[in-house]
């Protein structure tokens, strides 16, 4: 069907008009347990009962584990860092936003001496993103890899790629001065204009 102005509706499109409410509601009610609000979102109580149900426990889930393992999406690149970890920051700089595709990145700082590639170090590609910094990624799946700079005492690990409990929480927002205008920060952590 093509309308007068040439617009052809696509029923598979996510923009297709929503189904009629009187048809949609009984189906919705049938699938919505009481833990859900009318729009399908979880209630706060239901959320509190969700304790990592979909991920099997890893050795690092034991509190105080000293060695943490990280990997990329495809598993070709794996590495370990020695705890305890001290610094964790959300970074809003334009390079992080572009590279991660998210509003901010979250990096933990670990000592270079305790860092070791377990697998796939040769698969990690480095891109010089500025005169001072570089970005590393897995060439198989494109995942962000730790930034290990020659001569540095520390390595920067993407927090989300480390498995288990890290024993550290985010402490600050960095480069808030260059965050996207349309991003808002809703927590109470200190905000630094730059580092």
């Amino acid at each position: 069907m093509t309308s007068r102005i040439g617009y052809r509706p696509n029923p598979q499109s996510p923009f297709a008009p929503p189904p009629r409410r009187d048809l949609a509601e009984p189906a919705l009610a049938q699938h919505a347990p009481s833990a859900h609000q009318p729009n399908g979102a979880l209630t706060a109580q239901a959320l509190s009962r969700l304790a990592r149900p979909l991920m099997p426990p890893t050795p690092a889930d034991v509190d105080g584990a000293s060695t943490l393992v990280g990997s990329c999406l495809c598993g070709a690149v794996r590495y370990e860092v020695q705890g305890p970890l001290e610094k964790m920051s959300h970074c809003h700089c334009s390079i992080c936003r572009k590279h991660h595709g998210s509003s901010f990145s979250t990096f933990v700082t670990a000592s270079r001496a305790g860092f070791r590639w377990l697998e796939g170090a040769s698969l990690v590609e480095t891109y010089q993103s500025s005169p001072f910094g570089q970005r590393c990624f897995c060439t198989v799946c494109g995942s962000v890899a730790p930034i290990v700079e020659a001569g540095a005492d520390v390595v920067f690990c993407p927090a989300g790629a480390l498995e288990g409990k890290l024993g550290v929480k985010p402490q600050r927002h960095l480069f808030v001065g260059s965050k996207a205008r349309w991003d808002t920060i809703s927590d109470d952590l200190p905000q630094c204009v730059e580092v």
């Binding site: 499109s13 996510p14 991920m55 998210s102 995942s143 349309w182």
Partner: protein
């Protein structure tokens, strides 16, 4: 000639106002555009987003694939398809490693990493989806609704 003129008039009078959103990777080799208003934006906490981007969560914009196109370097997009879980696929710039839109000609929608956009999409995240597997260090402090899976897009508000 007369037909072309008629068509121009129809577009001017009947088509909704459209804004083209542009995006690119960190090194600039790859660029893309979305020629219609995108549908929804969500903060995604799935394992793929966290493991691949190393970030707390991914902010994703869902747009109609019909209106998406690569404007530069489409051949430079690296793709990874997981053998065990098709959802764990990813697209990235092979030169700088930036997350890139997951565009499939066959699919109805394209999933765009929101912060690769160069323009303000005029849209804000409307929900957190795939919550439940987020790491212990992440606390969700805003008031957006939380979903264990991604609900039908029609249930999400547009801003």
């Amino acid at each position: 000639v007369r037909g072309a003129g008629m068509r121009m008039i129809r577009v001017a009078r009947g088509a909704p106002a459209r804004r083209t959103l542009r995006g690119s990777c960190l090194c600039g080799d790859i660029a893309f555009e979305i020629a219609s208003e995108p549908a929804r934006m969500v903060n995604c906490h799935c394992t793929r987003c966290r493991r691949a981007r190393g970030a707390a969560y991914g902010t994703k914009l869902l747009a109609d694939a019909e209106h998406f196109r690569w404007t530069r370097g489409g051949a430079l997009v690296g793709r990874y398809a997981s053998a065990v879980a098709p959802a764990l696929s990813s697209a990235f710039c092979r030169r700088c490693g930036s997350d890139m839109p997951q565009y499939d000609r066959e699919a109805a929608a394209v999933v765009v990493p929101a912060r690769t956009l160069d323009d303000d999409p005029g849209l804000r995240p409307s929900a957190h989806v795939f919550v439940g597997t987020q790491p212990d260090w992440l606390e969700i402090t805003d008031d957006l609704p939380l979903f264990v899976r991604c609900p039908p897009l029609t249930l999400l508000t547009a801003d």
